[in-house]
Symmetry: C2
Subunit: 320 residues, 2 copies
């Protein structure tokens, strides 16, 4: 089985498209993996890049991408709403198929060593690749951000895993790590009352007593004129989409509110959708087919979960 | 507002009804509180006693009850399926109204001091009353049971909070503490397939990714010929009954299984039921009345949650 990872570098530049293009260039048209998307955000002044394919093939181009960022970005001039500590702020490796999280820790560590020793950038290994408990959480590492890291990095507790124990003057620092796939999923409600979305979010999210692997909050979509419950599903096997969808539907009933549609942000593994479709087919007394084409899955996801703006390209496996 | 606590001493005698009666006698017909139930279990050789009322009034009678147990029970001869470390194994104080958990810690501590100093019984404060992290969990304190405590108690780590640092020869040791109300709630399914109840339990319980305050497992009820999902709801405000009930109903649909009825074991606070009834009334577009009589609540709980064998006497407030 071919080894496939999803790798999602976050670049601290979301406004200057020329710069973004030059920095991303070393990742393009390479053997073994594809650049699935490059999504700049102006308010955040940050660009999320999604790579998919063979992790072995990604290492050299990623090092070149880091090198290009040191040339193009001066973090002393960076402004944006999203917290950040470096020109390339974070690079997670996510196992998709043919390998495990431990293998992704290996690729993350190899890239971290290259970036630290070849480019003189301090690197923190994070999430599953963390070498200490206080380095698992990216927000904890990043606290203080670019400006604060200059002092923070001097303490023994925050000595980087690779590279010098001093911030790179223009780049800052970076975090490289491995984590399981996370599904960014939002459910649209036919109301503009953010309170309703808020109380539903509290019902389902871990932090207020709900499902263990759900982060959730309310959001008002100004242009669309309705609210949504916006979530991260951190473990879709333990908290499958259909369970969250049906619980949101049930909670919304209290206020005579209905689900209008739902939304997948970024990519989603085929298996996530298949599991939820299997629930609905079984509930309807239908057989669950052993294999389903991506076409079938897209259609069923639209039917049962009302996923809007959904197409093949959102499914990881369709991009392989 | 009157201070009301529920206090649930567990007695290590479930077979000899004469003995049980003599030990419980000091608790009966007292001013300020009532003995709501005395429930012996032969297999466990253990009796659960439920008191309800003013905690101040309970202290003297509870001390007398402990004294009577030292006379009547010799733990060296005790056999039973339930783990136990003393003749009175555990005494939790549970806030019901007019006081907080911190107040219950106070009553627990006062009783513990009396039992320790007057009767020479080693006492561990547990749950919310615990004085160290490893004393929060009763099973952790009790590990080794009556027999093993003789050695365990000698270590500095297991020095009791009150009483001598040596087991009482015939009584053993005891745990006294404070905890929030816990709802024992079971949902009956119209199937005899325990696997279905098991996979639903996994979907809803904390330990496998479900709701934060739910413990759940499957059980086959031999005499009734069906399975149930049996649970403890540790925080009914954060994980209300209706949410659990509706999630179980939704999960059961996968196997074309339906909820036949549900069951409350022991007592339940009125507020628990009111909150869930409010959900169903709102979902039906009906007004939620500001006050509901206990009659109304019992009827609505039967209607919406199909609670079987349910009556006034199961509701804490109806016993006040």
């Amino acid at each position: 089985m071919k080894k496939i990872v999803q790798c999602v570098p976050n670049l601290s530049e979301g406004r200057d498209s020329g710069k973004i293009e030059r920095i991303v260039a070393p990742l393009k048209d390479k053997e073994g993996f594809k650049v699935i998307s490059v999504e700049p955000d102006q308010d955040y002044n940050r660009t999320v890049i999604t790579l998919l394919g063979d992790p072995e093939s990604m290492i050299d181009p990623l090092e070149a991408f880091f090198a290009r960022a040191t040339e193009e970005i001066d973090m002393n001039e960076h402004e944006g709403e999203h917290p950040r500590m470096g020109a390339i702020d974070v690079v997670p490796f996510i196992p998709i198929s043919g390998l495990k999280i431990a293998d992704c820790v290996g690729y993350a560590t190899r890239l971290a060593e290259r970036v630290g020793t070849h480019l003189g950038i301090p690197v923190f290994l994070y999430a599953e690749a963390a070498t200490a408990k206080n380095r698992v959480s990216l927000p904890k590492i990043r606290k203080g951000e670019f400006e604060g890291m200059k002092e923070k990095i001097k303490s023994e507790q925050w000595k980087p895993d690779f590279g010098p124990q001093a911030c790179h003057e223009t780049f800052g620092t970076t975090a490289i790590g491995a984590r399981i796939p996370l599904i960014a999923y939002n459910i649209d409600l036919n109301t503009d009352d953010e309170k309703i979305a808020g109380s539903i979010a509290r019902a389902i999210r871990k932090s207020s007593g709900g499902f263990q692997h759900i982060q959730a909050g309310p959001a008002y979509l100004e242009e669309r004129g309705h609210v949504q419950v916006t979530m991260n599903i951190l473990d879709y096997k333990k908290n499958p989409i259909y369970r969250i969808y049906e619980t949101v539907k049930m909670e919304a009933k209290r206020d005579q509110v209905e689900i209008m549609s739902s939304e997948v942000v970024g990519l989603i593994p085929l298996d996530t959708l298949k599991r939820s479709i299997a629930y609905y087919l079984s509930a309807e007394g239908k057989d669950v087919p052993e294999t389903m084409s991506i076409d079938d899955v897209v259609l069923a996801a639209r039917t049962y979960l009302l996923i809007r703006d959904f197409s093949h390209s959102k499914i990881i496996e369709a991009n392989l």
